[in-house]
């Protein structure tokens, strides 16, 4: 593309005074504009038509009213005039923002920001001056033409034809020396005030899932960035980033990501003007009006927002605001209002808004993820691929009738299945109930490794550790913890924490542990940090003695041995314990205790580091432990059950309604004779001999 651009420019340079030749070239280029946002497509189409009508006078097209008259045959210029007049507002303050015109995004060249003499984009209606310099008129418009396109080579070309304008006078200069892109980048960084924008292109980007693609790029890129205005054009994916540093980091990502067919993904980064939604960001007053309008259209009872034909809402048109939802900036503003005011939105109606693409709407998956009902009927969506952009929503009801895509299917069932592919949980389409699709609920936990039981080292090690823990906890639960002095090293460390919930304060059950909790995320005082870390074994045991008396359930503990060297062993114990005295007597708490031990004298273990984390036990944890009235660890006996017996237990439990442990006990008592166990069970039950706690809670 660059070569072509350079060739074009060189051609221009040769005949640089022959502006008409250039204009002709422009004319040639227009129909073949490649990289074009679909949102601009309709605009371009109309422009091309107009342009052809106007013939050589490419320049006059963009200038309204006055020139309409001079043209003679009003022609299609009228259309331009009227719409231009409608858009109206020019902002001369701030950062050279433009009024919106039908001509699409008046691209803000970076030059403008740095040099106030540059034109603001060809929208000033100063007819007299323009009439004087015929040459400049055409050039002016060429600039504008360039603005309409997103084509890279046009952007480059623009650099060669920079217009210098002041507020009152308009004159153009053709640059003879080509300004190299690198130099421009350097200027950006030196300035520091405003950062250059870059457009990132991923050819074939349409093939990949947007979330996967962006995540991969983020993880490969050494600089974090925020992509803006992500959209697809044909099969390409585009987005914008700001900052030369980011751009070069992104350039490095090129050819580093592999897709699932092991093909490397190309990423091109080019300079660009600011993205549409940034350049045409809605003014705060407009946002306010938009918010008010949307408030009126919001139905609180159904949590439904009706944005049907939003453009023609009397409130908006009355204030001369054009909310064309197909445009990125309007859609972004609308989504912003939804995010801040109606985040719990359930139903969104975007009927009759002339939506050609849903690139802008794709952000809704983050901003209003709970939307279940979406009405996109009577828009201009041409393919189901557009719907893929909002695939993140778990839609239950969808309306699509009146879109061109509906007629592209051979029959009803093809249409329905295509939509269901996109939204597997969809219940209603176009008002009709759907047969629920095969629930392909890919729970991602399947992708993760399943959670396993204790990770233990060798058997001897496991045995040693278990023995150690049994000894430790028997002293710990005995009521006099001074016996633990022997277990700790002289200079051992101990600290304790409870979970920190940013929303609620510590639960009552953990109130006794609250004061000594050492959460260095919230505790910033270095003195306290040191205080709460108990250092010598005496301090530790003294502190432990102040904690409430406990009863640990060693049968249900889980030990992860995660580090082992000749000199130390590191393992974590997860389990539950009950408080047997004090205020929260009877409450079951869960703990995770990490020990670092060194081999002590006489094959015992000596604790050097001890960290305790105490939290409320979940209902399952409370239920599954302490309910087995056995003294020996039953886990070993459970493990020794054969597959067949386990199945018997499950079946018995299901039939009798008793918990698994009790079913197992019953079966064991009856020597695994299922029928006999069943008979005994029925007999006992009629006699009322089975305690209520043996039965499973009926949900």
């Amino acid at each position: 593309m660059r070569a072509r651009a350079r060739a074009c420019v060189r051609a221009c340079m040769l005949s640089r005074m022959r502006l008409c030749a250039f204009a002709r070239f422009m004319h040639l280029c227009l129909p073949s504009a490649l990289i074009l946002d679909s949102q601009e497509l309709s605009l371009v189409e109309s422009e091309v038509k107009e342009e052809k009508a106007l013939g050589q006078n490419v320049g006059l097209r963009s200038f309204p009213s006055l020139f309409c008259e001079t043209l003679g045959p009003g022609q299609s210029n009228n259309k331009m005039c009227s719409t231009l007049r409608k858009c109206g507002t020019y902002r001369t303050e701030g950062r050279h923002d433009h009024g919106r015109t039908k001509g699409g995004s008046p691209f803000q060249d970076n030059f403008d920001k740095r040099n106030p003499r540059y034109e603001h984009g060809g929208h000033e209606f100063l007819p007299s001056e323009r009439q004087e310099n015929d040459g400049s008129v055409e050039m002016g418009d060429v600039h504008k033409d360039r603005q309409l396109r997103h084509t890279p080579y046009n952007i480059e070309r623009s650099r060669k034809l920079v217009k210098w304008h002041s507020e009152d006078q308009i004159y153009t200069t053709t640059w003879r020396n080509r300004k190299l892109p690198e130099r421009k980048m350097m200027e950006d960084t030196r300035d520091g005030k405003t950062r250059a924008w870059f457009k990132v292109t991923i050819p074939y980007g349409g093939k990949y899932d947007k979330a996967w693609l962006m995540n991969s790029i983020q993880s490969h890129c050494s600089v974090p960035f925020t992509p803006l205005d992500f959209h697809y054009f044909q099969n390409r994916a585009h987005f914008f980033v700001q900052g030369a540093g980011t751009a070069s980091a992104l350039k490095d990502v090129n050819y580093t990501i592999c897709d699932d067919q092991n093909r490397k993904i190309c990423i091109f980064v080019n300079q660009s003007t600011a993205p549409y939604s940034v350049k045409n960001k809605l003014k705060p007053s407009q946002m306010q009006l938009l918010k008010l309008t949307m408030d009126k259209r919001y139905d609180v009872s159904k949590q439904a927002l009706d944005l049907q034909s939003l453009r023609f809402d009397p409130d908006l048109t009355g204030h001369d605001i054009d909310i064309i939802l197909n445009r990125r900036n309007c859609m972004a503003a609308t989504l912003k209002v939804i995010e801040s005011n109606f985040p719990e939105l359930l139903s969104l109606n975007l009927c009759n808004n002339k939506l050609y693409q849903l690139d802008g709407l794709s952000d809704i998956t983050e901003k209003a993820p709970k939307v279940k009902i979406l009405n996109l009927s009577r828009n201009e969506l041409k393919s189901v691929w557009e719907l893929g952009k909002v695939k993140g929503l778990k839609l239950e009801e969808l309306w699509l009738e009146g879109n061109p895509l509906c007629s592209t299917f051979s029959d009803e069932s093809a249409y329905v299945s295509a939509i269901q592919n996109c939204f597997p949980k969809l219940l209603r389409l176009d008002g009709r109930e759907l047969a629920p699709a095969m629930n392909v609920d890919t729970d991602s936990s399947e992708l993760m490794k399943p959670c396993k039981e204790s990770c233990n080292g060798s058997e001897t090690l496991k045995h040693t550790v278990l023995q150690f823990l049994q000894q430790y906890y028997s002293i710990y639960d005995s009521g006099d913890r001074r016996g633990l002095l022997g277990a700790y090293h002289e200079e051992a460390c101990f600290s304790m924490t409870i979970p920190f919930n940013p929303e609620d304060s510590a639960p009552k059950s953990l109130s006794q542990y609250f004061e000594d909790s050492r959460n260095i995320k919230t505790l910033k005082d270095p003195y306290l940090r040191e205080e709460l870390l108990k250092h010598t074994k005496r301090d530790i045991v003294d502190f432990l003695s102040t904690l409430p008396k406990t009863q640990h359930d060693l049968s249900s503990i889980l030990v992860d041995m995660w580090y082992q060297t000749k000199w130390m062993l590191c393992f974590s114990v997860n389990g539950v314990f009950k408080e047997v005295e004090g205020q929260s007597q009877g409450s079951v708490l869960a703990f995770t205790r990490t020990f670092i031990v060194t081999p002590g004298s006489s094959s015992s273990l000596c604790i050097v580091n001890d960290e305790l984390f105490v939290r409320d036990a979940s209902p399952q944890e409370t239920q599954s432990t302490f309910s087995i009235p056995v003294s020996t660890p039953s886990s070993s006996s459970e493990l020794s059950l054969s597959q067949e017996r386990q199945e018997m237990v499950q079946a018995f439990s299901a039939q009798s309604g008793m918990k698994l442990e009790w079913s197992q006990k019953c079966l064991q008592d009856n020597e695994w004779n299922y029928t006999r166990a069943g008979q005994i069970f029925t007999v006992l039950q009629t006699k009322g001999k089975i305690p209520a706690e043996a039965f499973k809670q009926i949900p």
Partner: protein, 198 residues
């Protein structure tokens, strides 16, 4: 004015480092926080040399320094680790030692290659750390290799699914060079609090 401003990013780093020693430790962390995206390491200022002394006061001073250093390293490390895990997963294994082991809900993953594969396969995550505690590990256990035990707890969502509470423990070891200290994970143990029901 503009020149001053444009040199800001270059200049202030030097200015920080020019400051007096008393700020050096803080300088270490500020340098770190700015550099972290490029270096992917946890770097702190050089470790204090352990002073062999019999006086109790002196040894308690040393211990306090160890505790301080451990806390700082742990805080900085945890921030970097979870941010990398969420946003730049590919770079995560750079925080592990070559022979590091991860026990993830009971599954053993050992060695950088296996860790790479594991983290690639793990769905995208969203961590929120609510609790952090750390202790300097006694040198008897580590044979004078400075190590810190870090314990964290919080919530995590994988692929935007159900939120799980998790507990994670790390053993961080310091690899000292004359200028700075790089902390890496020697061992990592991660478990959901509701592992039994998943």
């Amino acid at each position: 004015m503009r020149k001053f401003r444009s040199n800001w990013s270059q200049g202030d780093r030097e200015r920080y480092q020019e400051r007096s020693d008393s700020y050096r430790e803080r300088a270490g962390t500020s340098y770190l926080s700015r550099e972290r995206w490029t270096h992917q390491e946890v770097v702190t200022s050089p470790l204090p040399k352990p002073v062999a002394t019999s006086s109790l006061m002196a040894s308690s001073v040393d211990f306090k320094t160890y505790v301080d250093q451990a806390c700082r390293a742990a805080e900085e490390f945890v921030n970097i680790y979870y941010e990398t895990m969420d946003k730049r997963r590919r770079a995560l294994t750079r925080l592990y030692l070559d022979k590091a082991t991860l026990i993830w809900n009971g599954n053993v993953v050992s060695g950088l290659d296996a860790l790479n594969n594991f983290f690639d396969a793990l769905p995208s995550s969203e961590f929120q750390v609510n609790m952090l505690d750390c202790q300097p590990v006694h040198e008897q256990a580590t044979q004078s290799q400075t190590t810190v035990l870090v314990v964290t707890s919080g919530t995590v969502k994988f692929d935007g699914n159900k939120q799980h509470y998790f507990n994670q423990n790390f053993l961080l070891t310091a690899q000292s060079t004359p200028n700075n200290t790089v902390w890496k994970i020697a061992s990592d143990c991660f478990r959901f609090q509701d592992w039994a029901s998943t």
